[in-house]
Structure formats: structure tokens, C-alpha cells
């Protein structure tokens, strides 16, 4: 998932206007942001045969990252911190259906979580993501209209989300 993570951040923004947008969007990518240096260092190998991303993407560590990330913004209020916690956790939920490897319960756990769609073809994967982006986009639009965000700004956000998804084709 790519645009779907951004759409999740924007959807949460619609419900938590006091949370900073940049932080919600960054939060939605925290496991990937951590995965990049870990993969670069070789801690989480990316080769298909030995693919491993339990430290950055497992359920337990995602909850830890979410809690640490939300704690940084605690002074902005419980609602904002909760929204940021949810933004980080949304990454796990969106990766759960389709991920290169089933997501671990915790690092090196024998238990892996998956919705079993990991073997779908690329086109199906794209359409599934489109559905997720569209659904989260609608949640964002609903919240943004309620918060009286100008229509042109809402349209620009939707256009960018749709464009990013199209670019990933």
C-alpha cells in the first residue's frame, strides 16, 4: 500500500482537526520510515528468500512505535495524541491484507497474521488499493466538509491521492 497510507492519515485528520497534518501523514508511514534504515543496515533483509520486517512491521512493535510517536505530541491533547497513535497503527491494518510476507505478531514470532491475499495478481492488488483509497478519501471529505475546509483544498488533496495511486500502476 502507498496512497492508501496517505489517505488513512487524511481520513484521520478529518476526525481530529487539532492533530497536525504532517504528523498524521508521517505517522501513517512510521513502520516504513523505520524499515528503510533497518533494511539498509541489513537488519531486515529485503531479498525474497530471506525477507524479514518484524522489527518495523510486526503488530507488537507497531503498537510500540505508535505509542512512542503519540507521546511526542501529548502536549497537543489526548485527542490529537490518540489520532496520531491510530495513524501509526493504521499502517499495520492496511498492510494486513496484502504484504510481501505475512505480518508477525512480534519480532521472530512463529505466529503471522494475514488475510491471505498475498498471492493476488498485480492488477487485482491495484484495484483493491483503489477501493481502500476511495473509501478513506470519502471519510476525509466528510470530515473536511464538517470542519469547513475550503472545497478547493479538499479537491486538491483528493486529486493528489488519486494521482499517487495512478502513478503506482
Amino acid at each position: 500500500m502507498y496512497a492508501a497510507h496517505l489517505a488513512a492519515g487524511m481520513a484521520i485528520k478529518g476526525r481530529a482537526p487539532r492533530a497536525p497534518t504532517w504528523a498524521l501523514l508521517t505517522g501513517a508511514f512510521v513502520p516504513d520510515i523505520l524499515w528503510i534504515p533497518l533494511a539498509w543496515l541489513g537488519v531486515e533483509p529485503t531479498a525474497r528468500a530471506v525477507f524479514f520486517d518484524d522489527w518495523s512491521h510486526s503488530l507488537a512493535t507497531t503498537i510500540v512505535w505508535a505509542t512512542l510517536f503519540a507521546a511526542i505530541f501529548w502536549k497537543r491533547g489526548a485527542a490529537a495524541a490518540g489520532a496520531l497513535w491510530l495513524a501509526v497503527c493504521s499502517h499495520f491494518l492496511l498492510d494486513l491484507p496484502i504484504h510481501p510476507k505475512a505480518l508477525a505478531l512480534y519480532p521472530h514470532s512463529a505466529v503471522h497474521l494475514s488475510l491471505g491475499l498475498g498471492n493476488v495478481d498485480r492488477a487485482t492488488y491495484w484495484w483493491v488499493q483503489l477501493g481502500v483509497v476511495a473509501a478513506l478519501g470519502l471519510v476525509y471529505v466528510h470530515g473536511a466538509l464538517r470542519n469547513r475546509v475550503p472545497a478547493r483544498r479538499i479537491a486538491a488533496v483528493c486529486l493528489i491521492l488519486a494521482s499517487l495511486h495512478l502513478l503506482m500502476r
Partner: protein, 53 residues
């Protein structure tokens, strides 16, 4: 993962995050920061050209 791959991956995240954040929460302009719009001495009192003297 090579250094090049890592930088590309980071940019793929950072660029849309910055773009969407700037669109959704644009920095306030100087007029939005001022105490009132141009032409107003105080709220509710508008100075009209030629109204006095």
C-alpha cells in the same frame, strides 16, 4: 538495499507528505496574521476615503 534505494524510498514518502500537509494546512499569509484586514482601524469601524476633511 542500497543507499540510492533508501534515499528514493524516503523521498517517495517525504514529498507527498509535505505536499499534502502544505495544501491541508497552508502557512498563514501576512494579512491573515495581522490584527485586522487592511482599511480597518479597529474591528467594525471602516475608514472610507473622503469621509472626513
Amino acid at each position: 538495499m542500497t543507499s540510492h534505494d533508501a534515499i528514493v524510498q524516503l523521498l517517495l514518502i517525504a514529498i507527498p507528505v509535505l505536499l499534502l500537509a502544505l495544501i491541508d494546512e497552508p502557512c498563514p499569509g501576512p494579512l491573515e496574521n495581522a490584527s485586522g484586514p487592511a482599511g480597518h482601524d479597529e474591528p467594525g469601524r471602516v475608514r472610507r476615503a473622503g469621509a472626513e476633511g
